[in-house]
Amino acid sequence: MAEDAHAAFGVRIRNLYKIFGPYPERHIAAIKAGMSKAELNEKHHHVLGLRNINIEMPAGGIHVIMGLSGSGKSTLIRHINRLIDPSFGEILVGDQDVVTMAPDELRDFRRHKTAMVFQKFALLPHRTVLDNTVYGLEIQGVPRARQVDAAMRWIERVGLKGFEKRYPNQLSGGMQQRVGLARALTNDAPILLMDEAYSALDPLIRVDMQTVLLDIQKEVRKTIVFITHDLDEALRLGDQIAILRDGEVVQHGTSQDIVLNPADDYVANFVRQVNRGRVVRTASAMTALSPDAAAGLPTIAGDVTVEEAARALRAHQADALTVVDTAGKPIGRITMRDVLTTLFPMPES
């Protein structure tokens, strides 16, 4: 039942435009006709936030939105719970159109369907960890005992047991963001919006928090929208990654798509430093099965990373492995040479 409810809340964004400034409606036509961000800014003193965004985010996945500073990531995620009103377009959550909601409908939607984690934590400094965590339930009017039950469960889950009486300014950044996460999870909304939630944390704590999120996601299966400008984070977390540039989506796909086939130089630049062995799957690196496939080779699943394939090759002291699909049917063969080609592709001539 709970899974059904969550399954219904994918997010679909269609033809979304956002122009900042006093008279966005005057310029929307020109923007649709292709006026550039720079021209809009210079001639009309309006800022183009987003241009023609179309993204499908199926329920239950982690959808990463990436891009450099100023590319419109925060603007985009704030459209999903309408902290920012669009200039044009549709945002469908489940089968509800967020754009046309009346104020009290919108409030209800925010209370029950979404929860958000912020880059600067945005905790209530005058409230303890516990009282911060219950905030969402409190404003819904849930009885205090139930608020505390739910909050304590998540406080414990994010590793803050024993700190519930502390105030945010008595905690380190990493701990404060755990509170932010616990507060969002306590709301038990099917959609979790995370705007650079981990960008303010130092690298070790960050990886730690990514693990916490991935572990929790295995239990709760929410539709998570995660913003970052760190590609490693994006690749680690994202089932789907959308890359934004100057308010436009330049590429949208799985991490492997993005690493193997960057859409343009902007994306290529992003992926240059990536450890491809941790992203590319054996099924993409293998040679398709030839009819004379030698049986008897050790097997490896097609959906594990090339790095793991390399490790297996080493462990088995084999020259090749048979790649099998989820049903166990052989689909190809991977050799050390395939691994190397994947890790160190020939520079394009």
Binding site: R107, R110, M116, A122, L124, P125, G136, N169, L193
Partner: protein, 295 residues
């Protein structure tokens, strides 16, 4: 060459007539509505009397305990409580206990009224830029207009007594309360407000659970200033019949009683110090966990 030395002005007769007719119409207004207005303010009169009687008729040890207890609850500091005790002791010992209690009661009531009026106005200002532009000059006038000037219409309407005195004090002491409330709410971290919105807070919930609590240190500073300003008005208010420490000061001025003036003056300073320290310590205590700290 006469015109060079006299600024061209309305004919004296016209001026006098104008002033006279305005005065006349205000007097007529007073005659017509004075009683009604007095009735409207009657509950205030009762409240004032009640507080004054409470402060002066209750045995002094109880009042002393009450004041010290309040100081402790607000400041949680033995130093502040000890200071309060010392000042009150000296005041009482020098024979000014009753007058001081009358003044304290007056300040208490003025401050409550200033808060009751000032807080909602401050909240309203923080929400509307237009209202703020409208009200701000009014607040400036309230603060700079010599208080004697607006005493005139108040006295004409309500005569001499506690209530007109209270009104004059509140007019003078209200602006900082309004300004600090407005400022405090405006200074609330935008990120925190966004978070409150993102969780679906109604605007009332946002006000009560986020804006007011976070504005509290500033609001407390406003209350502190308001108290100080009511104290500054004690002598002026005494001129229109408010009892307390102001009256002996007036008497001292009229009769050149140097010591009487000094004693009462120092008593006013003494309770100013008490109110200031206690309310500031309370404000500080509120602030303890409130700063937003990142990282």
């Amino acid at each position: 060459m006469d015109w060079l030395f006299t600024f061209p002005h309305l004919d004296d007769a016209i001026l006098t007539a104008t002033k006279k007719s305005i005065d006349e119409s205000f007097r007529a207004f007073t005659r017509a509505y004075g009683d009604l207005i007095e009735t409207l303010f009657y509950p205030l009169q009762l409240f004032l009397n009640f507080c004054e009687h409470f402060m002066t008729d209750t045995p002094w040890p109880l009042i002393l305990l009450l004041l010290l207890g309040t100081a402790w609850i607000a400041s949680r500091s033995w130093k502040v409580v000890a200071g309060t005790f010392a000042i009150l002791f000296v005041i009482g010992f020098l024979g000014m206990w009753t007058d001081t209690m009358k003044t304290v009661s007056m300040i208490f009531v003025s401050t409550i009224i200033a808060v009751v009026i000032g807080l909602p106005i401050g909240i309203a200002l923080s929400r509307s830029e237009r209202l703020r532009r409208l009200i701000n000059p009014v607040l400036d006038i309230m603060q700079t207009m010599p208080s004697f000037v607006y005493l005139i219409p108040v006295v004409m309407l309500l005569g001499i007594g506690k209530v007109p005195g209270l009104i004059a004090v509140v007019i003078y002491a209200l602006p900082p309360m309004i300004r600090m409330t407005d400022l405090g709410i405006r200074l609330v971290d935008r990120d925190v407000l966004e978070a409150a919105d993102a969780f679906g807070s109604s605007s009332g919930q946002k006000l009560l659970k986020v804006q007011l609590p976070l504005a509290m240190p500033n609001i407390m500073a406003g209350i502190n200033q308001t108290i100080m300003m009511t104290l500054a008005m004690v002598v002026v208010a005494a001129m229109i019949g408010v009892q307390g420490l102001g009256q002996p000061v007036l008497k001292a001025i009229a009769n050149q009683y140097f010591t009487l003036g000094m004693f009462n003056g120092f008593a006013i300073v003494g309770i100013a110090v008490i109110f200031d320290r206690v309310s500031q310590a309370y404000g500080l205590r509120l602030q303890k966990h409130r700063e937003v700290v990142h990282g």
